[in-house]
């Protein structure tokens, strides 16, 4: 707005054009947002319905007979939901810290150092994303059984401190490689160790990338399903994503017909999604908080 004030030369026609452009822009944003949020909103409205109302065609928008309080209370009393949330929080935070630190260090190695086998190691890292998990699951189960780690949180935490996951490593490598090497060299000439270059120069410059990695990492750990399903047995140690199965069990996955607890499932799933939503909302200012890079780039 201040720009229009300091530019009095702008012709009125151009200004009208601009205003029209702004209106079109916000209209576009509103339409796209509506398309994006509709299923989420519908899920919320459905969580207050009776189960019979859930699958009628065409679906109803507002619950005919709202029972939000009853449904949500039922979710909390039928299963140890609070315990599961706490477990999930614990595992998510512990594994997330490990994977952010570890992936950054490993990515630093891939992006900034030259040594024999580096590119091979990097391709192997990516390769771990390509082999379908279905076929490594059972060997992995046997491995953790050998270690005596079954039914503990260790398999869900420890591996992330050692490598941090191919996705994160690749992501940080890309960002480190977009920072000119002159910066490292200048610091090294001034006597900085490679660790200081990493910790005090590169990592701060990659704040948006680190924030992105941490937020996406939180969401993926928070919702992790397969590993906790296989490695955890005791109900008291369940993570929420696995616990949600309680509300969909008994009937074959994927059936379109109403299942007896689907209204509860939707409410529970929404409560699981809520912390991610809040985190995403709050983490935003860090996504774009770049250090002013002028004169460094290009």
């Amino acid at each position: 707005m201040s720009t229009t004030l300091v530019r009095p030369i702008a012709a009125t026609g151009a200004r009208a054009d601009r205003r029209l452009g702004q209106v079109a822009l916000y209209a576009l944003l509103a339409v796209l947002s509506l398309v994006s949020m509709f299923p989420f909103v519908w899920t919320f409205l459905s969580s207050g319905k009776e189960v019979s109302e859930l699958y009628q065609i065409p679906p109803s928008l507002w619950p005919a007979n709202p029972r939000f309080v009853e449904n949500y209370r039922e979710v909390w009393t039928r299963v140890p939901f609070g315990q599961w949330l706490w477990n999930t929080f614990l595992v998510t935070v512990l594994s997330l810290v490990g994977s952010v630190l570890s992936a950054s260090v490993v990515a630093y190695s891939f992006a900034r150092f030259r040594y024999p086998g580096r590119d091979l190691f990097f391709m192997v890292t990516l390769g771990t994303l390509m082999l379908p998990v279905e076929v490594t699951l059972i060997p992995q189960y046997l491995l953790f059984k050998q270690l005596g780690w079954l039914d503990t949180f260790l398999p869900l935490i420890v591996p992330f401190w050692l490598g941090g996951g191919a996705f994160n490593i690749f992501l940080m490598r890309q960002f480190f490689m977009s920072i000119p090497y002159d910066l490292d060299e200048a610091a090294r000439i001034d006597g900085a160790s490679s660790w200081r270059v990493f910790w005090q120069i590169l990592l701060p410059l990659c704040k948006p990338a680190v924030a992105t990695m941490a937020t996406l990492g939180f969401i993926s750990h928070w919702n992790s399903f397969l590993a906790p399903l296989i490695f955890i047995n005791s109900e008291s140690k369940y993570l929420v994503a696995v616990g949600l199965r309680y509300f969909s069990s008994g009937v074959t996955q994927g059936q379109a017909a109403a299942r007896p607890q689907d209204h509860l499932l939707m409410g529970a799933a929404l409560m699981v999604a809520l912390p991610c939503l809040v985190l995403f909302f709050l983490a935003q200012r860090y996504f774009v908080q770049g250090i002013v890079m002028s004169g460094i780039k290009g």
């Binding site: 050692l162 490593i169 992105t212």
Partner: protein, 299 residues
Amino acid sequence: MSSFRRREAVEGYLYLLPWIVGFAAFVAGPILASLYLSFNKYNVILAPEFVGAKNYVDALTRDDLFIPSIVRTFYYVVLVVPVGLALSLWAAMLLNRRLLFTTLWRTFFFLPTLTPIVAAAVLWKWMLNPDVGLVNYLLAQVGVKGPGWLSSTDWAVPSLALIGLWVTVGGSRMIIFLAGLQDVPTELLEAAEIDGAGRWARFTSVTLPLVTPTVFFNLVLGIIFSLRTFEVAFIATQGGPARATWFISLHIYQNAFVSFDMGYASALAWLFFLILFAFTFLQFRMSRRWVYYAGERAR
């Protein structure tokens, strides 16, 4: 090797160490085990029985579903990845502007990622219902007779691609692009504008080259993740109608956990892995021509 280069190599390995330890301890074993199992008959209960290359030969010569499932999965990738990349980058640029309520818009765009998949599947099935669905209703208003979507063998894969795009366009890919866009200095864009570069020229000659590292990241992982796509097909169509959405991931799942033919499933997984790995390797080779790294060093 000069002592300087040797020191660099030692430090490089040192920073790589956590990965090496983690890989050796938790990843390498299960991977090698699955490779071993792929040469065995193994039903999870009885001990593995060595059968040589039989599983591989069967997959390539006797399995009517395997190769078509791979072709079908690649078809899905072609539909979903290029369009998805372009739309995500476009959305990221849209939300990188100074707007009113930017935080709110970004959160709205991101919501599909956080929408419980069961709920999304139910709703999409209704929206794409050929007779009473919203999409065909809207098409009818403009005089177009909509297709059968998920219930048509020709349209089932495009329908899943549509759902896939809805989930992913505003998701992690967009957020990563947003982070990448922070590396584009506004001074450079302003300088280009003063030099008379239009919107499109500023995009192609300033913004795009500087975000190629994130474009490349999203391309490589977009292909990997969409080749592994499972959940939506499993919930919305169960591979049907008439196997029209029987993707490779469903085929492996079926053999591993429904017919408990783990040896055979492992062979399928390894064949799939080889294709995917070769494909990714090729992309890295080609990336040298189009990805611009400001911090790349001479070898």
